[in-house]
């Protein structure tokens, strides 16, 4: 009974050990990295980059809760704002690529060589 009450008082995130969050975000981050390296569609590459950033967000929130320090959660807001700006610019560049080449396959973008 005592243990259940203790658990209820604990922060919901803290029920799970921090290493599990570390593992989960490392796996998500790796999936994102592999996506950027091996997918050929520009939109999916953007999604993979977002996955990398969201893995970082998850990790920051988990650490922030375990350390009882709010700085990590504030950092997440900065990352989300910057990621939104980056995607806005990225999709705009992708639009001009599409207008010129009529494709979002990045194999077309290999004209710069030497």
């Amino acid at each position: 009974m005592e243990r259940v009450r203790e658990r209820l008082n604990m922060n919901a995130i803290q029920v799970i050990p921090v290493n599990w969050y570390l593992l989960l975000s490392a796996v998500l981050f790796t999936i994102g990295v592999l996506g950027v390296l091996f997918r050929r569609n520009a939109i999916i590459i953007f999604m993979s980059v977002e996955l990398m950033l969201n893995a970082v967000n998850l990790l920051l929130v988990a650490f922030s809760t375990y350390l009882s320090d709010s700085a990590g959660q504030v950092f997440v807001f900065f990352i989300m704002a910057v990621a939104a700006a980056e995607v806005a610019v990225g999709l705009a560049i992708l639009m001009s690529v599409y207008r010129n080449t009529m494709s979002t396959d990045i194999n077309i973008l290999s004209k710069l060589k030497g």
Partner: protein, 455 residues
């Protein structure tokens, strides 16, 4: 801090110029604004103020901000054609000035959050500018590659920051250093350090993470390439040095050997690949990769000389790059291509441009009495005194390879003949700019102590 406030206001004014239609006044306004910022920035010298534990304006920050603002002043004179051609020039002004504000944040941060924000404020406008020739597929490709690689590198940097936060409980670079010195360093901390190292290596285009740089530099419009090679590289190196000098100095044993290998690879890869290029623009791009390798020597040294020598190096390299990209812009426009052969016979048709280019290339190659020689000399000495004799030997070999491809352009200008000779008209602004950069290159070569002694 004054510099940051003034630059941000200047950016907002540039955006307002479109609405209140004083577009014609904007160019002189920006030039005056930059001079004002430079002067007010100099007033911060020696004050060493800390703002909300986020920014620290010590002498390091003021010195590098001065270099950034001074070089961007030269860049604005060089790139005036870039702004006249376009109808939405106010956007370009605003983008360049905001990215300069990001560069100033990058040299003065004292918190990981500001490092991240500075890098992104610098980079996001550069993605747009690299892809700013909307109808040109090459420019599109450059913008897209720069964006993907930039975001990818930011991901590594952020994962590193998150791990270090988990290990030390802080984003403040001084607090992290203190926690680590107190013996709290765990495997999570070292994993974070290595991920941050990878992220920063991407940003400064150090081998083996340099492959994006030549493509982006070649595809982007030439003035934007010059901006990336000077301002962006200076800011990235200052941020790199500040991070490792302040925050990770205590754990130098872990990362020094990695950075030594990285520096050697970068110098060799950059210089050897540059020899094989036929396009002068791409050659200068690889030479910029090679220069990143030399600058890594100052980071490896991590002694009292490294800050001053990197300051000197970034200044000498930036002045040389602004001049060479300026001349390249003229030649490429007149001959319709940026191949090394288009420089053939330039000395006969246009001795002034050929002389200016020669001085800039001699400085980049590191031949005395130019600024580049002393920049290299000081940075090699710093690394040598830190006990990296082998790395200095590799650096000297790499710069000998460098001399070969810089002299290819000089030989093309003076000893080869062109089939169709075109006399290039140089505008009065650019004549003044080239005279200033040549004088600056030689003056820095004669009195290097003036810059080295600052830090």
């Amino acid at each position: 801090m004054k510099a940051l406030i003034l630059l941000s206001s200047l950016g907002v004014i540039a955006l307002l110029a479109e609405i209140f239609s004083f577009k014609k006044l904007l160019y002189p306004l920006v030039i005056i604004g930059l001079i004002t910022t430079f002067i007010f920035n100099a007033f911060d010298w020696g004050t060493d103020r800390i703002y909300f534990n986020m920014m620290r304006y010590d002498d390091f920050a003021v010195a590098f901000s001065s270099v950034l603002i001074g070089v961007s002043f030269l860049w604005f004179i060089m790139a005036d054609g870039f702004f006249k051609e376009e109808s939405n020039m106010t956007d370009y002004f605003a983008l360049v000035i905001f990215s300069l504000a990001g560069a100033v944040i990058m040299v003065s941060y004292s918190n990981m959050a500001m490092l991240f924000l500075g890098i992104e404020i610098l980079s996001i406008p550069m993605y747009v500018l690299a892809g700013s020739k909307k109808d040109d597929v090459l420019s599109n490709e450059a913008g897209f590659k720069y964006l993907i690689m930039g975001a990818f590198a930011s991901g590594f940097l952020l994962f590193g920051i998150a791990l270090i936060y988990g290990a030390t409980g802080s984003f403040d670079i001084v607090e992290i250093a203190q926690t680590v010195a107190a013996g709290a360093a765990s495997s999570i901390f070292y994993a974070g350090l290595l991920l941050m190292l990878v992220g920063m290596a991407f940003k400064v285009s150090a081998a083996p993470f340099h492959f994006w740089a030549p493509d982006v530099y070649q595809g982007a419009p030439t003035p934007v390439t010059a901006y990336m090679a000077t301002i962006v590289k200076t800011a990235a190196f200052a941020a790199f040095l500040r991070l490792f000098y302040t925050c990770f100095q205590g754990s130098a044993a872990t990362w020094t050997s990695i950075v030594v290998v990285m520096a050697g690879l970068t110098m060799l890869a950059g210089n050897i690949t540059a020899v094989l290029q036929t396009s002068a623009k791409r050659m200068l791009a690889y030479s910029s990769v090679a220069h990143a390798g030399y600058m890594l020597l100052g980071l490896v040294a991590l002694n009292q000389y490294s800050q001053g020598s990197i300051l000197m190096y970034t200044l000498a390299y930036s002045v040389g790059s602004i001049t060479s990209f300026g001349v390249l812009g003229y030649v490429a426009k007149a001959k319709g291509g940026d191949a090394v052969d288009s420089f053939n016979g330039l000395a006969k048709t246009n001795p002034f441009l050929a002389f200016v280019m020669t001085v800039a290339l001699l400085s980049l190659a590191g031949i005395p009495p130019t600024a580049g020689f002393f920049a290299k000399y000081y940075i090699f000495t710093a690394a040598f005194q830190a006990g990296h004799a082998w790395l200095v030997l590799v650096a000297i070999l790499a710069s000998l390879i460098g001399v070969y491809y810089y002299f290819r352009i000089i030989i093309a200008m003076y000893f080869k003949h062109s089939n169709h000779e075109v006399t290039i008209e140089v505008s009065a602004n650019h004549k003044l700019l080239f005279v200033i950069t040549v004088l600056l290159t030689i003056a820095l070569g004669l009195m290097p102590d003036f810059v080295i002694g600052l830090l």
